[in-house]
């Protein structure tokens, strides 16, 4: 589950989905109003869901955040002078780049990786931390796996839109690994232990934290890093002057030992940090990490080329969306019919049970249900992600279908049913020959409606590692640094799937209905 920080947030991507939007707005306005009386601020963006040691909600006071990135932000604010204080703004990690350009905050700090793409699009500070991309494997595989090359045909998990993910994508061709992208950095490790994936490639800080959480058992971290990268602060492209000031503050903090002090306090200091500081203070320039060593830095491609380059993966993702939607809908229709007939024809106990199912499933978020089916039940039954997605969506929509069918069945006039009884039809025949066919006609329009809704809700399954159309679009958007072309393309594909459906439904309605 997503960690809650308790800090007022303004996230462009998540806001629409999450609860308490109004509360957030009120809170935000209150803060704006209060701002006038306060000393100058350095608003910095980060994702507390990333957790310690980067940024996490303070267990003692969950309205506050703590972590080394928090202290780095405070050090920068102090160094910039003028009595400035740092204020944290919660932003979804994958949206930090877009958000800083929008002007939601001044600097993004949350284990932001130094990549050529990021340098090309934003004003990026000098690196302040050096991390190693390390592989984690199950304990029993420690003697067999020494690097990506030993993982041919195996599923390797990581966080989406990271250097590690790019490394895995490149590795798909060169070493035959199967990249699995996650939205968070906790579940890759639990799925590693649960044998849903065979390895995890992530920053050494994250790997070590995950291992500590598991009490040092379940998996091992391979000593040989796959790549080395750096964390930087990200500012809007137009803020390069401010960025230079921030660089000055960071250099000072490297010289006066405050950065070392911060990292030591959070237990992430090691010799490579000292070496990094030396290199920076001596030369000032460090090359960004561009994914796998041989691969060239992805230069910002012209729009047309970027579109064609992403077309195959978008098409594949659209296929995943279509297949998941069709299978989920088929399941929803079958289960929904069962529930509706149970509710209309069943004995008292069955009627009560179906009512409880329908109300519970309709009354709780499908996102929660997907988490429970995929992660919550992992101890009992370890479902593959795709199956969990179909089950989650299908069983959720079944509740809605059931109510549609119940309403449609009840809409058939009772005198027609009585007429059928006087003609000698059995109850089953009445359902099959008289009630069912008419109910189907009533149900067709709301069913089409539901299927279109399901098509779009299928984007939720990205939280359980299924890369479908919306997820792929987000990856694409992060990569090209804009939502305009990917967003438009994604919309076109969704419409291409939903419009013919509506058309088909109208034709069926005409055919089944009396002219």
């Amino acid at each position: 589950m997503r960690a809650s920080t308790g800090t007022p947030t303004l996230q462009p991507v998540i806001v629409a989905r999450s609860l308490g939007v109004t509360g957030l707005v009120v809170c935000f306005l209150a803060r704006l109003a209060a701002q006038g009386e306060r000393p100058p601020l350095l608003v910095w963006g980060g994702d507390a869901e990333g957790g310690a040691p980067f940024v996490e909600a303070d267990p003692a006071d969950p309205s506050q955040v703590r972590g080394f990135d928090v202290e780095v932000a405070e050090r920068i604010a102090r160094g910039l002078g003028g009595g400035r204080t740092a204020r944290f703004l919660q932003v979804q990690w994958s949206a930090i780049d877009q958000s800083v350009e929008r002007g939601d905050f001044t600097i993004g700090l949350s284990g932001m990786e130094d990549t050529p793409t990021r340098r090309a699009r934003h004003a990026v500070t000098i690196p302040y931390f050096e991390f190693r991309e390390v592989l984690a494997v199950r304990s029993q595989d420690r003697d067999r796996v020494h690097g990506l090359a030993d993982l041919r045909g195996r599923r390797v998990a990581t966080l989406g839109a990271t250097i590690a993910y790019d490394l895995l994508l490149a590795g798909r061709e060169s070493t035959g690994v199967i990249p699995v992208s996650y939205d968070d950095d906790v579940h890759p490790y639990s799925d590693l232990v649960a044998e849903r994936v065979d390895a995890v490639l992530l920053d050494h800080i994250i790997a070590q934290r995950a291992l500590r959480r598991r009490g040092g058992t379940g998996f091992v971290i391979l000593p040989q890093p796959v790549a080395v990268g750096h964390y930087v602060g990200v500012l809007a492209r137009a803020d390069s002057v401010l960025r230079d000031s921030v660089d000055g503050v960071l250099r000072e903090a490297m010289r006066d030992g405050t950065l070392e002090h911060i990292f030591r306090r959070w237990g992430v200091w090691d010799v490579s940090q000292g070496a990094l500081f030396d290199r920076i203070l001596r030369s000032g320039a460090i090359a960004p990490t561009a994914g796998p060593p041989p691969s060239p830095a992805p230069a910002p491609a012209p729009a047309a080329r970027a579109v064609t380059a992403y077309f195959p993966s978008l098409a594949r993702a659209a296929g995943v969306t279509a297949v998941i939607s069709v299978l989920s809908m088929a399941l929803a229709v079958a289960v929904g019919l069962g529930l509706a007939s149970g509710r209309l024809y069943g004995p008292g106990g069955l009627r009560a049970a179906t009512t409880v199912y329908i109300e519970v499933v309709r009354g709780t978020p499908v996102l929660l249900q997907l988490f429970v089916i995929y992660y919550g039940l992992a101890g009992v039954v370890r479902l593959p992600a795709f199956l969990a997605a179909v089950l989650g969506l299908g069983l959720n929509y079944a509740a809605y279908e059931a109510e549609i069918y119940r309403g449609a069945l009840q809409a058939v006039s009772s005198t027609q049913l009585e007429a059928a009884r006087t003609l000698g039809f059995s109850e089953a025949q009445i359902l099959r020959l008289v009630r069912g066919p008419q109910a189907l006609r009533y149900a067709l329009a709301p069913m089409t409606n539901d299927f279109v809704a399901l098509l779009k809700d299928s984007s939720l399954v990205s939280v359980i590692t299924v890369v479908e159309l919306t997820k792929q679009t987000a990856i694409y958007a992060t990569n090209v640094g804009s939502w305009i072309v990917p967003g438009a393309l994604c919309a076109v594909v969704y419409l291409a799937m939903s419009l013919p459906l509506a058309q088909l439904a109208r034709r069926l309605e005409r055919r089944w209905g009396a002219p």
């Binding site: 006039s413 005198t415 027609q416 009585e418 007429a419 059928a420 009884r421 006087t422 003609l423 000698g424 039809f425 059995s426 109850e427 025949q429 020959l433 008289v434 066919p437 008419q438 006609r441 089944w512 009396a514 002219p515």
Partner: protein, 226 residues
């Protein structure tokens, strides 16, 4: 009367504490049209529904051609097959199956209850529709039919399984005077063919013109014969 097709003996129907029917007794013989008359709300429809085993009754007895209905809840359909073969009911609102054409409304029971082939069923249905003067409307949908046409299709549907007893609820409600006369003649022909007809109506003129006997139902009273 040993030969009566339908015998209703002291039928009582109660809704909550209100007596809708109190000891209604009547008989319908084969070849006879009996009109059940009375103002609205007096229980005419209730009596027909009890005979068609669509609703329970609390006292009395109903016998249709040897099949006996007793007080208590309506028996399950599996125990009503013999009764269903003996009683046809034409609803006031005709209650045609809206997803089927006029022809298919008539053939449905022939095919799925009596197991006739489609060709056989359609031949029977076409003959029935033609005899009721709606042969040309066989392929029409119910909502395309006028009130009189829909009613005659509903009669054809009720007659298709060939029940000896036909119950009709307010058959003249949707008809103009000319159609009323035609309907009356059609009912006489059915009776002449050996069926018994029980027609609930408040149309005194129609009843006087076409019924062999009239049974009057008055609120809260035992029915008297006319």
């Amino acid at each position: 009367m040993a030969t009566a097709l339908l015998v209703i003996d002291r039928l009582c129907v109660r809704y909550d504490t209100r007596d809708v029917l109190r000891a209604l007794s009547l008989e319908v013989a084969r070849g006879e049209v009996v009109a059940l008359m009375g103002p609205s709300g007096v229980g005419k429809t209730t009596a027909l529904r009890a005979v068609a085993a669509l609703q329970p009754f609390h006292d009395g007895r109903i016998v249709v051609d040897g099949e006996v209905l007793v007080p208590g809840p309506v028996p399950p359909e599996s125990r009503l097959q013999a009764l269903r073969r003996r009683v046809g009911l034409v609803f006031q609102g005709h209650a045609l199956f809206e997803h089927l054409t006029a022809l298919d409304n008539v053939t449905l029971a022939l095919r799925h209850v009596l197991g006739r082939s489609r060709a056989e069923a359609e031949a029977v249905a076409m003959e029935l529709l033609a005899s009721l003067d709606v042969g040309t409307r066989a392929s029409a949908w119910p909502r395309q039919l006028s009130g009189g046409e829909a009613q005659r299709v509903a009669i054809a549907r009720a007659l298709a399984p060939d029940p000896p007893l036909l119950l009709m609820d307010e058959p003249t409600a949707a008809l103009d005077p000319a159609r009323r006369g035609a309907l009356g003649e059609a009912l006489r022909r059915l009776a002449k063919g050996g069926r018994g007809l029980l027609v609930a109506t408040h149309d005194a003129e129609f009843a006087r013109a076409h019924a062999d006997r009239i049974v009057r139902l008055l609120p809260g009273e035992v029915a008297g014969r006319g």
